[in-house]
Structure formats: structure tokens, C-alpha cells
């Protein structure tokens, strides 16, 4: 049972990491323009040549 002492905080830490990531995306205006963000990946960058 003593494994719980390690696993429980570990699983909590992982979940907190997810929560912090969500908080960051929210603060970073990442939900302001879902359509635009989906489209921008299709824009061809003229300087985008293979290396």
C-alpha cells in the first residue's frame, strides 16, 4: 500500500500540470479565434524552403 504515497501525489501533479496548461492557454488568448488558427496552417510561407 505504501506505493500510494508516491503514486497519489504523482497523479495529482500530472493533473495539475494539465490544469496549469489550460490556464496558460486561456491567458494566452488561444480561444479567441478557433477558425483563424485552423486556417493559418494552410497559408504558404514564401520563405518556407526545404533545408
Amino acid at each position: 500500500m505504501s506505493i500510494i504515497v508516491i503514486l497519489a501525489p504523482f497523479s495529482l501533479a500530472l493533473a495539475l500540470l494539465g490544469l496549469a496548461a489550460f490556464w496558460w492557454t486561456l491567458r494566452n488568448d488561444q480561444y479567441e479565434d478557433p477558425q483563424g488558427d485552423a486556417s493559418r496552417i494552410l497559408i504558404e510561407d514564401p520563405e518556407d524552403r526545404p533545408l
Partner: protein, 736 residues
């Protein structure tokens, strides 16, 4: 009222012969730091990645632009300008590549930031985190309830862990409810948030006490799950209101609540409407609306008062004539001297009528609040009784209080909290796909109750613009080249009837009179009777044409009935709704439309006040009236009616007074919206019935002490799920 092309494109593009670079836009800039300024624009026509690349690429090459970022979801473009950057140049660059842009009032741009939505999203995320992770520790405890091996020490450890995760999350996520409950209590009222807050706080306190005393039952996970489910409902409700609000704000910006001020030296400057003062000189181009009441100083033109009075015949104006705010300038360039600031013009008088209407409507009690009014006292009495009776029966106080808390938790208002928002979001999404915008859930509820529809005529049942009546095709063909060269609405209607073809070359338009062109054999003229040299005739909307040989032709026009509107009265009657027409237009025009529609109950020549009185008469007769209107003369009526709808081309004032906005060329969707609203009410009632049934089982079970934390968690999530799934049935058009 159909928007003319000139109107939709608002003011962009000054005629080149004026020799100025367009109006000054500096009133629309926001300071963003030393030397930096931002211009917020609403861009129309951007739909795809190529549009983003085109717009941002074009602006990157425009001198004075530091940055440009287009939000494709909202159509808003934020342009960062260097100190020497010219905002007018930005707009002209956009216009040149085919994306007409309108400046946003900085105030409304700031309002667009959705602070409340972020708070809710964060609270929702924390509650979700708390619900999931507190449950990790609750599951072993639940297992212990069913005879699995679990020592008291391990159980207490699990309970403390559950408390450590659940309690802070519940306090953070619960703040939304605590704040609102506190505000309500201080105002001496009780809303749905009061029992939620009491339930959550009591549950947390009792659970801590149980943990300290090494008790068996704690409800940390239940408290935070409860908040999680309730926040989903809150968030859906917010998302619905936000979408409607931003769509309405965009329309508002597109209709340019701005004026072009003319300085003494002849330079033009764009100004937000609220900064216009009496005595300012204003320039109104053809196709623009008169921004505030004013007297014509220079220029001849015709103005269209359809939105103000419902009258479709254009009125000629010349220096000295007063134009009222909202009138559409049709033909000539006008310079006005403002007579009133926008707060005390014709608009403001109507706005006061609107306010009184909004007050009378605020007495409407929403379904969810009606349910809460029954739910709250019943559940709280039950919880208090449980505590007292259990104690009198000799159960220890601690156990008695725990039972009372269980009653509050199990009869949780989750199902109630989700019952209505879930239904309204589903109904609004279904209508949104059909182009109908629901501005508030309450509007949807009131729409379901409507039993009478009052229509405005112009722009709602008719197209709000002239159509050529019957004429000889040969005559049309003769006048067509000249008509194609003109921007006058009547000439355009004639050109439309003629179809594609060549336009007259070298045509000269004379403002307020007509258009002329020199042919090989003589002068051709198209315009008003006096201009062409024809005898002045009746009161019908007409256009005269004189060909090169001097022969005269007369073309008559009328505001045509929308073909989709013809079956509307019958469709409404089939749904048990009666209909009437309340029009500000003359009797003959109204009678013609009423006859075609098959609506025997009509009134013509009504003032805005008259429309309100007509609605009051209907209300006194016990009818619940849906008012459909688009004009400024309808705004007061829209806000006085039980529920109101406006077409998407209506004035901004009408759209903000209306509960729902529908696509103007699809009036038949009014009936569809009523169907959906009724289906939504049925779904909501079913949800309430289910929630009541659930509480009738769960409540007594909790009072008798049969409920443990595991059962509570199952019951709570289960009931919320059922309610939500029932609401989702609306999405596929179910519920007919």
C-alpha cells in the same frame, strides 16, 4: 429594409473628383503605448486562409502599419499603427483588394473582451480537475462501503486526500455562485445560487467534521462534482448569450454608427455618433443614412424615410428641409447642419419608449426561476425537518446534520440548473443553422407562449424596395441603358427588370432630378416628371423616360411582397396563431399587402406611439403578441410586445430591441422559430418533470438515511446526464 449596395459598403471609397483622401479616422484609434496606436476594423468577406494571407500581406506592405492580425472567427482586424501611419490608408488598401472594412468604436471593441467567459472557463476547469481527482481518493472509500477490506486509518488517509483536493477546488469554483448568492441576499432576494451555496458550504463543513471525527461518510467529491455540473450549465448559458451579443455587435458596426464631420476648411473627419454636437456640419453621401436630425445646408437629393415611417415613396429634399436621423439619402451629396446631438434626436424619443417597454418586460419570470421558487423552499424545509425529526427520534446530532446535508446534496439542483440552459443552447444552435439568431433564452420561452403575430409591412412582408410594375418589354429595353448608368433605387429596379446589357456612355446624373445622356439624334432623359418634361401625375412611385426623339414613357413602381411571405399567415394559423398588420404606410399600400397575405386585420398610417397602443389593446384582450418589425418606427413596439423578431437587415436599434433576428429574405422561418421554441419548452418541461420525479425518490431516501456518498455521486451525475441528453434531442429536429 433591404440594404443597398452603397449602404453595405458604408462610406469606404470617396469619389475621386473630390480631391480629398477620404475622411479622417483618428477618432477611432486607441493609444497602445508610446507612439503606438491601434485601429479595430470589422472586415466583411474574409472566409478562408487565402483571405487572411491576402489581408495581412497587403497591410504588411502598407507604409505606417506595424502589425495586422485578422480574427477569422469574428471578422475583426486589429491593426497596429506607427506614429506616422494613416488609418484612412489602411481602409483604402482593404477596399482596393475587395474587403470593405468599417471602423469599430474603441468602446465596443473593449467590451468584446470576454472577461466573464474566461472566469467561467477557469472555474469550470478547476471544478473538473477537482471532481476527477477527489474521486480518485473517494473510490477506495466507496469500495469500503461495500465490504471491501479498508482499515479506518487508510480510510481517513483517503478522506484527507480527497478533502485536500476537493475542498480548495470547491471553494475556487464555487466563488461564482457564492458571489451571486451574497449579492442576492444583500438585496433581500433569494435566487437559485443561494441554495447551491448553502448546500456546498454545509456539505464541506459536515465532511470536514466527519473526517476529523474519523466518520464514515464524506462528500468532498460530491460537492465539487455538483459545482462542475452546474458550471457546465452556466457556461452554456453564457456562450449562448455571448454569441448572440457579438453577432449583434458586428451588425451594429457594419451599419456604421458614425458620422462624417465637415470642418470649416472643408476637410472630412469620421466621428463616432455620440460625439456629434448640434451645429456640426455633416456630410451624407448617397447610400448613407442621416446620422442625426439636421437641416439641409447644401445639396439636392431624395431621401427614403421607410425605416422611420414605413412609407416607401422617396421624399425630395433641398436646402432648408429637415432630415430625420435614420433616413436614407438616395441620390445627391448632402451637407447638413446637425440640429440635435444623437441623445436628443428623433432616435432618442424612440429610445425612451423602448426603455419603458424593457421595464414592463422585466416582470417576466423565466421558467428556471419559476422552478427554483418551488424547489428552494421545499428542499430546505425537507432538509431542516430531516435534521429536527432525526434528532427527536434519538439519532445523534452529528448524524442528523449529516443526513440533512445528504438531502441537500442528493436533491441537488444539477438537473434543474442544466434543464433549461441545455435545452436553450440546443434550440439556439438549431435555429442558428437556419440563420435565426436567438438573443436570450427568455426570448425563446416567451416566443413559445405567443398566440398572435403583429407584422410591420415595409421590409418585413415586402422587400422594402421598389419593383417595376407591369411595363412593355420594348419600353424597358429603350430606357435600360440609361437606367444601368444610374444609382437611384428606381433606376436600379428598372435596370434589374431589363436584365444584363450595355450602360449608356457619357451619362450625367443630376442629383434629385434624374439622369441624362446625349445620343446621336438628341438628348435622352430618365427621371422625375418635371425633369423629363412630362405632366405631373398621381401619387404613385414613378419614373419617366424621354427618348432621343422626344417620346415619353412612364414606369410605375411598387414595393413588392416577398414571395416567401405569402403562405405565412396560413402557416401561422395552422399553429394556432392569429395575425395582423400594423403599418405606418398609407392605406392603399397596406390594403394591397393585407389582401395578398390574407390577413383581414390591418391598420395603416400608424405612428410609433400608435403601434404601441395597438399592442396594448391586444395585450388588454389577453393576447400574447409576437411583434415582427424592422424600422425605427417599430422599435418601441418591438420592446413593448411580449416577444419580438427583427429581420437581419433591420436598423441596429430594432435588432437590439428584438429577442430574435431572422434572415430578411426568409420570413417563413418565423413559423419555424415558433416551432423550435415550442419544442424547446416541451423539452424543458420534460426535464423538470424528470428532475421532480428524481427528487421524489432521492429526497425521501436521503431523509431515511439510505444514501451514502457513492449513491449520491451516481444519482447526481446520472440525473444531469439524462436531462442533457433529452435536451440534445432538439438538435436533430426532434420534438415535433
Amino acid at each position: 429594409m433591404a440594404l443597398t449596395e452603397g449602404e453595405a459598403r458604408t462610406w469606404a471609397g470617396t469619389p475621386p473628383d473630390e480631391g480629398v483622401g477620404g475622411p479622417d479616422l483618428s477618432a477611432y484609434l486607441t493609444e497602445t503605448g508610446p507612439g503606438g496606436r491601434r485601429l479595430d476594423l470589422l472586415v466583411s468577406g474574409a472566409h478562408c486562409a487565402a483571405c487572411i494571407a491576402r489581408i495581412e500581406g497587403e497591410l504588411a506592405g502598407t507604409p505606417g502599419v506595424a502589425s495586422a492580425r485578422l480574427n477569422l472567427s469574428t471578422g475583426r482586424l486589429a491593426v497596429g499603427l506607427e506614429p506616422e501611419g494613416d488609418p484612412g490608408q489602411v481602409v483604402r488598401a482593404l477596399d482596393r483588394i475587395g474587403y470593405p472594412a468599417t471602423p469599430y468604436d474603441p468602446d465596443s471593441a473593449r467590451q468584446a473582451q470576454d472577461r466573464e467567459g474566461r472566469e467561467l472557463a477557469m472555474a469550470l476547469a478547476v471544478a473538473g480537475f477537482g471532481a476527477g481527482n477527489a474521486m480518485i481518493f473517494s473510490v477506495p472509500v466507496w469500495a469500503g462501503l461495500f465490504g471491501q477490506e479498508l482499515g479506518p486509518a487508510t480510510r481517513t488517509f483517503m478522506q484527507w486526500a480527497s478533502a485536500g483536493v476537493g475542498a480548495p477546488c470547491a471553494v475556487f469554483a464555487g466563488m461564482v455562485f457564492f458571489r451571486s448568492a451574497w449579492k442576492a441576499l444583500r438585496a433581500g432576494r433569494a435566487n437559485m445560487d443561494v441554495p447551491i451555496s448553502i448546500g456546498v458550504i454545509l456539505t464541506l463543513v459536515v465532511s470536514f467534521q466527519e473526517t476529523l471525527l474519523m466518520g464514515r461518510d464524506t462528500y468532498f467529491d460530491a460537492a465539487v462534482t455538483l459545482l462542475f455540473l452546474l458550471l457546465i450549465g452556466r457556461w452554456m448559458d453564457h456562450a449562448l448569450r455571448r454569441r448572440a451579443r457579438s453577432a449583434a455587435a458586428d451588425l451594429l458596426a457594419l451599419q456604421a454608427p458614425s458620422a462624417v464631420l465637415l470642418a470649416e476648411d472643408g476637410t472630412e473627419r469620421m466621428s463616432p455618433l455620440r460625439l456629434v454636437r448640434p451645429g456640426d456640419r455633416l456630410r451624407v453621401r448617397p447610400g448613407e443614412r442621416v446620422p442625426v436630425d439636421g437641416v439641409v445646408e447644401t445639396g439636392e437629393s431624395e431621401i427614403d424615410n421607410a425605416l422611420l415611417t414605413g412609407e416607401t415613396t422617396p421624399q425630395p429634399v433641398h436646402p432648408g428641409v429637415t432630415c430625420r436621423a435614420g433616413a436614407l439619402n438616395l441620390t445627391g451629396l448632402l451637407t447638413l447642419r446637425a440640429e440635435a446631438a444623437c441623445e436628443d434626436s428623433t432616435l432618442a424619443r424612440i429610445a425612451r419608449l423602448v426603455e419603458s417597454g424593457a421595464q414592463s418586460r422585466s416582470t417576466y419570470v423565466q421558467l428556471a426561476d419559476k422552478a427554483a421558487a418551488i424547489y428552494v423552499p421545499v428542499v430546505h424545509t425537507a432538509a431542516a425537518l430531516t435534521c429536527v425529526i432525526a434528532w427527536m427520534l434519538g439519532i445523534p446530532v452529528r448524524e442528523a446534520v449529516l443526513r440533512a446535508a445528504t438531502v441537500l446534496i442528493v436533491t441537488c439542483p444539477c438537473a434543474l440548473g442544466l434543464a433549461v440552459p441545455a435545452v436553450q443552447v440546443a434550440a439556439a444552435s438549431r435555429l442558428f443553422r437556419r440563420g435565426v439568431l436567438v438573443k436570450s433564452g427568455a426570448g425563446l420561452e416567451r416566443l413559445a407562449e405567443a398566440d398572435h403575430v403583429a407584422f410591420d409591412k415595409t421590409g418585413v412582408l415586402t422587400e422594402g424596395r421598389p419593383r417595376l410594375l407591369n411595363a412593355d418589354p420594348a419600353d424597358i429595353a429603350r430606357a435600360a441603358p440609361l437606367a444601368r448608368a444610374s444609382s437611384h433605387p428606381l433606376a436600379r429596379a428598372l435596370a434589374e427588370a431589363a436584365g444584363e446589357g450595355p450602360a449608356a456612355t457619357g451619362a450625367i446624373e443630376i442629383a434629385g432630378q434624374g439622369i441624362e445622356a446625349r445620343a446621336t439624334t438628341g438628348l435622352m432623359r430618365l427621371g422625375r416628371a418635371a425633369f423629363v418634361g412630362a405632366p405631373l401625375s398621381g401619387n404613385q412611385t414613378e419614373l419617366w423616360f424621354r427618348d432621343a426623339d422626344g417620346a415619353l414613357f412612364r414606369f410605375a413602381f411598387a414595393d413588392a411582397l416577398r414571395p416567401e411571405a405569402v403562405g405565412l399567415a396560413a402557416a401561422l394559423a395552422g399553429r394556432g396563431l392569429s395575425a395582423s398588420i400594423l403599418s405606418g404606410d398609407v392605406e392603399a399600400a397596406t390594403l394591397r399587402v393585407a389582401g395578398r397575405m390574407g390577413i383581414p386585420d390591418w391598420r395603416a398610417g400608424l405612428t410609433p406611439q400608435g403601434k404601441v397602443e395597438a399592442l396594448d389593446d391586444l395585450k388588454a384582450a389577453g393576447r400574447r403578441v409576437l411583434m415582427v418589425g424592422d424600422g425605427l418606427n417599430d422599435v418601441a413596439a418591438l420592446s413593448h410586445a411580449h416577444v419580438s423578431m427583427a429581420p437581419g437587415t433591420a436598423l441596429d436599434a430594432s435588432q437590439s430591441a428584438a429577442d430574435l433576428v431572422y434572415p430578411a429574405d426568409h420570413p417563413e422561418r418565423i413559423a419555424e422559430a415558433i416551432d423550435t421554441a415550442r419544442a424547446a419548452r416541451r423539452r424543458a418541461m420534460e426535464n423538470f418533470a424528470f428532475a421532480a420525479l428524481y427528487n421524489l425518490v432521492a429526497g425521501p431516501a436521503a431523509m431515511l438515511g439510505f444514501v451514502n456518498p457513492f449513491v449520491a455521486a451516481l444519482a447526481m451525475s446520472g440525473s444531469s446526464l439524462v436531462v442533457t441528453l433529452n435536451a440534445l434531442r432538439l438538435l436533430n429536429g426532434g420534438g415535433r
